[in-house]
């Protein structure tokens, strides 16, 4: 694996720090006029999700991390592992609950997710930004209340709970933004 020097650090670059794979969030060059040059760097630890702030001497380097993002189709959950498939090669990968984390509540079979591989094994899963899911449980709909703007909780087929307008019923499918858990609208029939 190669190394990257501080002047190559930029957002999204994957490097090893203290034995963990990290993604660089921000790199700021700091140099007092008559003093030494430093790079103040924010890195997200890809294992824990925590953001570190660390200062390097300019010119220092870090080893690159064998981390890559791949689009994969979600297949199924066998009770212990979540199974994903690369659409081109049909190669399958299994991710444990720790790697899937909060994404689990949005995973619908056949949806395409971003699976982050570290040394070839799933490290993290990012669901699609928008998913279409069926409402499996919610209070009965209130007709004629479309203009009021009130909301109620609804449980979706994958287990996620989102706030939806009062007029929606069990069995309807809706579009949700997974980054904010925000209801975007009724899914169009197609």
């Amino acid at each position: 694996m190669g190394t990257y020097s501080t002047n190559e650090f930029k957002g999204g670059l994957k490097v090893m720090l203290d034995g963990d794979p990290c993604s660089i969030v921000e790199n700021e060059f700091v140099k007092p006029g008559k003093g030494q040059a430093f790079n103040r760097v924010k890195l997200r630890n890809l294992k824990t999700g925590r953001v570190w702030e660390r200062t390097f001497r300019s010119g220092e380097s870090l080893e690159s991390a064998d981390v890559m993002d791949r689009d994969m189709e979600y297949l199924y959950n066998d009770g212990e592992f979540y199974h994903f498939m690369e659409p081109e090669t049909f190669e399958q990968h299994q991710a444990d609950a720790k790697a899937v984390g909060d994404a689990a509540k949005w995973l619908k079979e056949q949806d395409v997710c971003v699976v982050t591989l570290y040394n070839g094994a799933p490290l993290a899963v990012t669901p699609p930004n928008h998913v279409i899911l069926e409402i499996t449980d919610t209070d009965p709909g209130v007709r004629g209340d479309t203009a009021q703007g009130g909301t109620k909780p609804a449980t979706l087929a994958t287990g996620a709970v989102v706030k939806v307008p009062l007029f929606l019923e069990i069995g309807e499918t809706i579009k949700v933004d997974t980054r904010t858990a925000e209801y975007l609208g009724r899914a169009k029939e197609d």
């Binding site: 002047n7 700021e28 060059f29 700091v30 140099k31 007092p32 006029g33 008559k34 003093g35 030494q36 040059a37 430093f38 103040r40 570190w52 702030e53 660390r54 200062t55 390097f56 001497r57 300019s58 220092e60």
Partner: protein
Amino acid sequence: MSESLWRPTAPLENLRRRATLLADIRRFFAERQVLEMEVPILSRRATSDPHIDSIVADCSGAPAFLATSPEFGLKRLLAAGIGDCYYLGKAFRNGEAGGRHNPEFTMLEWYRVGWDDHRLMIEVGEFLSWVLKISHVRSYSYRALFLQHLDVDPHRASFEELKAVLARVLEISFEPAGRDECLDLLMSHHIEPAMGEGITLVYDFPASQAALARVEEDELGVPVARRFEAYVGGMELANGYWELTDAPEQLRRFEADQRYREDNDKPVKPFEERLVQALEAGMPACAGVALGVDRLLMLACGAGRIDEVIGFPIDRA
């Protein structure tokens, strides 16, 4: 490939503001009878400053160096008797690029004959207040700032003590090499961001960071560099000296810089021995200050990054 890389990164209104700023600067000095001078930007001699690197060009088959500041040229003019003078134009520093740095930048540097650092600090405060319409100017000694923010005396604390303070406030990836590296980190990472709004002047720097300033004892009998810095909103804007006029001491500092460069595997280039000769001939006692015009413009425009005030930063130049 983006289709618009030919465009300036800065909004045109900021570039128009640059034009009025340059005109205002020239008016400020014209009214005070300080003369604009040009100096070589391409020189056969380079800076020896341990932490500043020149860009090397090829001129008629031999290396030439882009000036990292107009200091040597202006001081040679001062020794020749030009009197109060300033330079407003480009300077170049290799490897400096980021939110507040571009390798090619605009510098204002001026000298006042017969003044010391404290007299010049007053004028720097007046200049900044006038350009930025800020009336609040505060000044602190380097020691007072460290005592206030970190409860440590930067001149007397040992290396071990400074490392302990550093470990308390900052995460770094390396073992600090010495006291000055600790002080630089504490100043740039901890104290500057906490300075707040307004103009802050800091004087009496550690003697080990004197560069080309005189070293004198302060009121506690500690040798300090008669050097000052100006900050606005925690951003370093200007660096000034009560200038060293002692030729043998100047030569010793150049040689010490060159040795530091050799020992630390940094490029060693011919230093400006003509400045030593100028000091031998007799440069009048004076104070001088260098100010980053792009950063000043950032403040005037409310810009967060230097590429919002430079038309074509290095990636588009």
